[in-house]
Symmetry: C2
Subunit: 753 residues, 2 copies
Amino acid sequence: FSSLYSQIELNITQICLAKECSEDEVSETKLNEDPKVHGIYLHLPPASLTSRVLNTLKPEKDIDGISDLNMGRLVRGDLSKVFVPPRASAVLDLLEKHDASSEGKTILLVGGEGSFGLTLQCLIEKNGMVALKSNWNSKSLQRQVCLCLCVCVDIEISRAQKPKPVDQLAEQIGLLPEELEAYGRSKAKVQLSLLNRLHAQPDGKYVLVAGITPTPLGEGKSTVTIGLVQALSAHLKLNSFACLRQPSQGPTFGFNLHLTGDIHAITAANNLVAAAIDARILHESTQSDKALFSRLVPSVSGVRKFSPIQISRLRRLGINKTEPASLTPQEVHTFVRLDLDPSKITWQRVVDTNDRFLRKITVGQASTEKGLIRETGFDIAVASEIMAILALADSLEDMKNRLARMVVGTSRSGQPVTAEDLGVSGALAVLMKDAIKPTLMQTLEGTPVFVHAGPFANIAHGNSSVLADKLALKLVGRDGFVVTEAGFGADIGMEKFFNIKCRASGLRPNVVVLVATVRALKMHGGGPNVSAGTPLPKEYIDENVDLVAGGCYSNLRKQIQIAHLFGMPVVVALNVFRTDTQAEIDLVCQIAKECGASDAVPCYHWAQGGRGSIELAQAVNEAANTPSNFQFLYHLEMPIVEKIRVIAQKVYGAEDIELSPEAKAKIDYYNQQGYGSLPICMAKTHLSLSHMPDKKGAPTGFVLPIRDVRASIGAGFIYPLVGTMSTMPGLPTRPCFYDIDLDPVTEEITGLF
Amino acid sequence: FSSLYSQIELNITQICLAKECSEDEVSETKLNEDPKVHGIYLHLPPASLTSRVLNTLKPEKDIDGISDLNMGRLVRGDLSKVFVPPRASAVLDLLEKHDASSEGKTILLVGGEGSFGLTLQCLIEKNGMVALKSNWNSKSLQRQVCLCLCVCVDIEISRAQKPKPVDQLAEQIGLLPEELEAYGRSKAKVQLSLLNRLHAQPDGKYVLVAGITPTPLGEGKSTVTIGLVQALSAHLKLNSFACLRQPSQGPTFGFNLHLTGDIHAITAANNLVAAAIDARILHESTQSDKALFSRLVPSVSGVRKFSPIQISRLRRLGINKTEPASLTPQEVHTFVRLDLDPSKITWQRVVDTNDRFLRKITVGQASTEKGLIRETGFDIAVASEIMAILALADSLEDMKNRLARMVVGTSRSGQPVTAEDLGVSGALAVLMKDAIKPTLMQTLEGTPVFVHAGPFANIAHGNSSVLADKLALKLVGRDGFVVTEAGFGADIGMEKFFNIKCRASGLRPNVVVLVATVRALKMHGGGPNVSAGTPLPKEYIDENVDLVAGGCYSNLRKQIQIAHLFGMPVVVALNVFRTDTQAEIDLVCQIAKECGASDAVPCYHWAQGGRGSIELAQAVNEAANTPSNFQFLYHLEMPIVEKIRVIAQKVYGAEDIELSPEAKAKIDYYNQQGYGSLPICMAKTHLSLSHMPDKKGAPTGFVLPIRDVRASIGAGFIYPLVGTMSTMPGLPTRPCFYDIDLDPVTEEITGLF
């Protein structure tokens, strides 16, 4: 012990500072010399946390729950205020694990949803920690800088930071060994058979984390989600599970954080469909009906048989025959010719890299393709309809059927052509059979997390998977909690969660947690423009209760009302930043309750981890025990136009909608094809309740323009386009990869920050 | 036991037949009614192999080594001849595992390198068995049909088929738990740190399996490799390891058999480079030197610093400064402008799907790319230079340096532009950090196998990885054997193995096993054309010693001589087919020895598994203990043209070579760039020793035309193009995916055969 004791003495003199400041403020900081320093971090192994040690450390605050915080300890420094910022601990953890030579080195840990995602993605790679959703703007990586001046602590101590082995975690949450498929030491897929085994088990409480309309910097829904489950687990001792989306590799410049390969599987499946489309067009253009038929239904040992996939196509064509020889020439013609109209193919190829030059391309230019050139493009992999399907499927069979239904284009006679018509649907199901199993991981505090699916929040529904939620709800049991997260603001992510995801899952949430920040509220209250890369205007640093009040009475109130449209109780979670004053914090909580929130509490998870979210956990627990009377916003049987109008008027606050002729024509076509009763998935900016990104607060009296309307028949929704959506990001002039390097000897990654 | 006993009785009446026949002969076969039936398979759990059971079964042959064969048993049937064909057992295994309802169903198990690869790839997915290299021609899947009329045996029994858990296998071969990274239950990556731990351990014997010039059907190098290690392990009780290539997903229509994700990592890395190239061209075209510089070397907390990758570029530009402010405007210009010539970009994007329409495309057609359109294309992922590097790298550092050196194109002033110039080299190393670890798996008989890397055998070197061989050589120890395989015929795969792979690894092989088949020898002896899809001409079914002799004295002799050029002892392995007669078999072995082979033996692994290769194992063991005096074919310092000529004349038997003007110009350019001393990687057809696929035997007196010359600077070779090579296969009219399906309830894959 004495050696450990001296080690602690050592560490008290070698401490880690953490503060938040704008890029320009970053500078070599000496301990105690910097007024902005508000964090002091001492990193100890749980083993060392004997009362004698703790007394020696003389913590400034009571050490209640200290044994639950296995990431660092509060100690008295010579500083006025003491925290353990999770980000600092993450950095320190990274330093210890990734850069043994970082003594005294200045590390930039970038903040913001995207980059915080990056931090933890890096942790995943090394330790299997949890990834948070990263956003699309690589520039955000230069933003909201958090400086940590760190030192390496003893390697024995750093070992204490390792997450528990995934099989141990699995056992703790009641999984059987045979239900687990380990990928390395800290990631595992969970088999869907669990749903059968726990069939009789009652579901736990179901909590949705949504947000007010965010600034371009993001307001921390994902961190609130993590803080909440940590508080529920470690402090309220309630079983709890977080369900998060898997970040795309694109924004992390194609980083191969392939987790358990789900996005690779989606890419393979998506591009198999694309290859099948063009190859089929080629083969139809060069072969007679007879030749096509004899190849599509080959004679094996003198016998021709239709494959099940072909039988199913025949059914849809109204040909109720199973004997190939019995088809009439006309039936053979109908069967063998998809007759795809090259100008009406909607299926795009995908790649999980930010490759802007693939946005619009011409394919088929080699002489071997017989001049069948056409224009098409690539999307980022997570924009694939297959990702949206992965998130909505509630069983292997459901996924298989959705994959078969995917419409890839239209025939020259105007008929939709599906993946099944291409004969590829069975193969797609096989390609996706492992991806459908959620991936089990853990938070920095060791609570379980499912990372599964991450569809776009504009052209798709932006929610994590139905199956992850279902498995988690069984695992936590009646009194437990599952906290899942919806992308963007509540007007988008939450509305889609209810009208699309809950319809697909049949699940009904108990509480909505609405995340707000003083920063975003000030913006909605009329504060100056907040943008990437530039330091925050002083209105956002200094106290300004008027701006805060303005934001509360506009955007916050409106978002609360939206949740009430669905009959849900709302708990407002104020994600507190260092610059927020008590007056501002109190004001937000007071107005939020005025506006109908069941409760409104400040969250200090950023500063204190799970302990910082205890109040939120208590509020959520209380709200979850009040009866909710959930209802959908619209009936599926309503005409498409009406469904769009309801969302525009009731959710966005629009006066009305205005359809382009294109949009009108598409809607007519979808109705005629029998797609009229699908739910609506609006593709709208997340930066305003309206379609105008710079209209903050709660705009009214505007007419929402519907530029075009598209459909994801497999995923099962119609998506009206409000403005243009980029489905393929690009690389900046200096992508982060300039700093990324690998130490060939230690195998450690450097330069991620 | 009695219940098991009755079960056995049951199985004796429900047995599995296996025969080889042409597609037309396939028909519903009743037990004992079909004269062609020569296989009878009874499938038992090892537990049941008590002497009493074995006596009951009255094996026709001695049951020596029976306890080693954990895949099936020889039993007396009412049949004249009895085997346990591994393919039949593989099918039975598949049936039991994948299709519980297959009682009495007729299964087509396709043969040929490619399709056999497919069989086992399917086994991998389910059981982590070994994948064999699949070839490029999907049509081969309709070929060399082997009919199995099978029944499902008791599920308890089928469980006995499961491979041992990978951690158990790892322990058996002396790996420490911390050196293993499990991927599921039966696959694991092995850490390179093993090389340090076993540094002092002497290497085992190193055996290369090559082949004579094959028919389009493939002659079974991979199966000989597996048979050989099984015989060495199970029967000669020598430690032995097989090192195989990872099959591409492409030919299996983009099947997501992603193993441990190596090919996905290569795809991500390759396409990151591609995205960086086009994005850089765009940014250079729209920004001033000053703007580029301030973005490429951004001010962080008021300080501008070059990243290590940028410093390294400065060095290569001859600018020995580290202080950004100190660069002259001219130096800034030189530093920030790669000035890539769009018409001279050699880097292609890749996808691991057979997508022919991506062979030639135009990118950058979206308005956001400012009209910077250019023509380019996609290759199949395994054609990426990064795959060739993965196979040649002998350490993480070596891989990192090779990745940095990759030349992606030429500047307008004619300078090569590298991955490091793009600033992406560090990120590439990080993307590939897991892929560099070989994947441990096992054969059907439970002997260890590394599956690692699978580069093209024409535009690349076609050999599995240097690191897999090195790790395996340490693991087997001094008296053990590592059997590795070279793609195509010995004139291509073996020549590249010696002149390229052995140069990179520093390893020296002890023996060359040259695989021949009576079928291929008859073709070289003047037999009729052998082609895919059509039944074999009768010359190949009936005895014909003249054709056999012709093939032995031409192609076989020549290939033996090629091995002798390198000073290697050669053991000829005749891969025996059912139709081969004793006279033909004896003749091949006799002539092979005449022509200088140390030994020549028939192999019955196809029929008997490892037991069928015991004679080969003994011959190889003997030859390995005779001293070899290995030598390279050429010195690296020879001029490029001379190196090409030596290969053409000494290996292929050409009169001379003829260079196109393009080829001449390229060679001058490479010399001028200092690439003159790289080894040569010929891109030539594998169907003839010459460049003319239909010239069989051992052609002479021809002039080898060198159409063009290219370079893979990172991989480290120059590759002259003899004829045209397709680097992107296409899908046939009816790809196999029509039959593929997934049972949503049992999660079992159906229709792979």
